[in-house]
Amino acid sequence: MDTRPLETAADPKGLRRIAIDPLSRVEGHGKVTLLLDDDNRVRQARLHIVEFRGFEKFIEGRPYWEVPVMVQRLCGIYPVSHHLAASKALDRVAGGWPVPPAADRIRRLMHYGQIVQSHALHFFHLASPDLLFGFDAEVDRRNIVGVAGAFPDAARQGVMLRKFGQEVIRITSGKRIHGTGAIPGGMNRAVDPAERDALRAELPQVLAWAQDAVTLARRLHENLPARYADFADTPAAMMSLVGRDGAMELYDGVLRLRESDGRIAVDGFDDQCYRELIDEAVKPWTYMKFPYRRDLGVDDGWYRVGPLARVQNCDFIPTPRAEAARQAFVAAHGGQPVHTVLATHWARMIELLHGVETVAALLDDALITGGPLQAEGPRQRSGIGMIEAPRGTLIHEYEVGDDDLVTRCNLIVSTTHNNQAMNEAVRAVALRYLDGETITEGLLNHIEVAVRAYDPCLSCATHALGQMPLAVSVRAADGRVLDHVLRSSTGELLRDGPAHDAEAAQ
């Protein structure tokens, strides 16, 4: 399906405009806009980011040793990922890379705890309502409370898996949030043996839940109605870190790029040289940049990151249960690359299982309870830290002056890597399911289902009681609002209210 012409309508005059604003269950200020002609044919579809956050300016000017703590405030969904990516970058500034083995193990434990808790939240909280009840189900069922009511065991497992992941984070960082475990050059605390033992006691049950989660994700995927078999099928190159032996590697590795047809394009690429591999482009209608492969250029160089890319990019997963699940995933697709975005949920649960297995192995490693925790060496002026965060590759890059203050900062988060891939998914769904149809809430939810598969973290952490969850406006060519529907905080559909302020943005 060629979706590219839908990025910009040839003649937007006279087209009706629909805005999904903001995307529910997606943090930050993002929206989808559709331009329709008089026959409801889709002429333009875009995922926009309508607010500039200025993360870099928040960091620049601060002492570099404060940064691993401060960056946690960039994101309330995955603060640990920012914490570790910043620490890895600043290890190099502090001359402390590689960190001592004990610090490496504890950081990995923290990171895989984050993978477990984030993936559990995504699947059971964000994705399973759509998969369990259907994309067209009543609004009041498509949420975690609906899942808890209809499938209490699944809901309980989701809560307990997330709780387990957070406990792993707590014993490595000292707190459930705002922890300060990682510092430039290593860690500032080891794991308390009593806390380790308490988590080990939970492992048999947690492993069983994680295995059940893979089974559930597979069953839901394979039982999707036939009309969703090719839902948002958007072939894309796949990028991730892998181990030097081709293993799945989420904390530290080398970059691999695989073409959409499965051929490996780039392998063993040093993450410190990522600028030679990718660049970022801007477009006038959104604040989010578009990373692309330098060798292919802006139009053809986009790629996908995250669970669906990682599970297919690696040669194997170095834990037995998850590797068996990966092989089953590959076999179920006939060994061919998979680009239907709903398969992301299945891949995500395979990673969750890998995360639990990895946590189990690390809890058995005596190094986590002690040993040298910090390395020192010649001070450097810059550093790059790259990890595979739950949603995909996360890059932190810093330059630091002689006065220890950060002079330049660049972050490429997984959602930014996936910008074009998400836009392609939106267009594919718009063409397949909305084109020529009378727009309903259920049809609009199809677009959100595609975006949610990526779990974009468009911003983070700012929230307050009373935010508007969803508004749709239909405008005439002269800008008049022909129809405006607000889905209120209680889920009621209200008409004739004022349009949201941000709706004015293109």
Binding site: S24, R25, V26, E27, R53, G54, F55, K57, F58, M70, R73, L74, G76, I77, P79, L121, F124, H125, L126, V139, D140, R142, N143, I144, V145, G146, A148, G149, P152, A155, R156, G158, V159, R162, K163, Q166, R176, I177, H178, C457, C460, A461, T462, H463, A464, L465, G466, Q467, P469, L470, R487, S488, S489, T490, G491, E492
Partner: protein, 164 residues
């Protein structure tokens, strides 16, 4: 042992008035440490209200949620919260009502009595600090939270803690 009272606030300390919830929790924890017997109240903060916080309610007698809120006419506002199968498709965070419903579904019993204290917020930008007006509103909210605390103790919250 689980303290019978829980104060749970949320918000991002680096996003303007979003910090007011965690700031109140910190101040109230310091006050409770001076004014109440140990083990009376637990004080927790997080970025956002999430599903696993349902487990923090287990074994409590009364709970106070604290968050910054848009659009308040007064410095703060206290209200009772009941479980509700809200129809909203939520963001990465839950409403207090939905959290109580998750508790009820998971635990198969009524949640403890819960109130929410909303503090007026007006500015939410990254890197901003609460201004003088916000700090003044916070003081009023803190006074209201102290009243809640003493009222809860007077109504019979055990000070020895209860088993979860």
């Amino acid at each position: 042992m689980t303290a019978p009272l829980l104060v749970l606030g949320w918000g991002n300390p680096s996003r303007g008035d979003d910090a007011l919830g965690p700031m109140l929790v910190d101040a109230l924890a310091a006050y409770a440490g001076r004014a109440l017997p140990a083990g009376t109240v637990d004080c927790l903060s997080d970025y956002q209200l999430q599903i696993e916080h349902a487990l923090d309610l287990v074994g409590r007698e009364r709970v106070l949620f604290v968050d910054a809120a848009r659009g308040l006419d007064a410095a703060c506002q206290m209200r009772r919260v009941e479980p509700q199968r809200e129809r909203r498709i939520t963001s990465h965070a839950l409403s207090p009502e939905a959290l109580l419903q998750v508790f009820a579904d998971l635990q198969q019993r009524e949640p403890p009595r819960c109130d929410v204290l909303a503090i007026r917020g007006r500015r939410w930008e990254l890197g901003e600090q609460p201004d003088a007006q916000a700090v003044a509103d916070l003081e009023q909210a803190l006074a209201r939270a102290r009243e809640w605390l003493h009222d809860a103790v007077a109504r019979g919250a055990h000070t020895e803690g209860v088993n979860a």
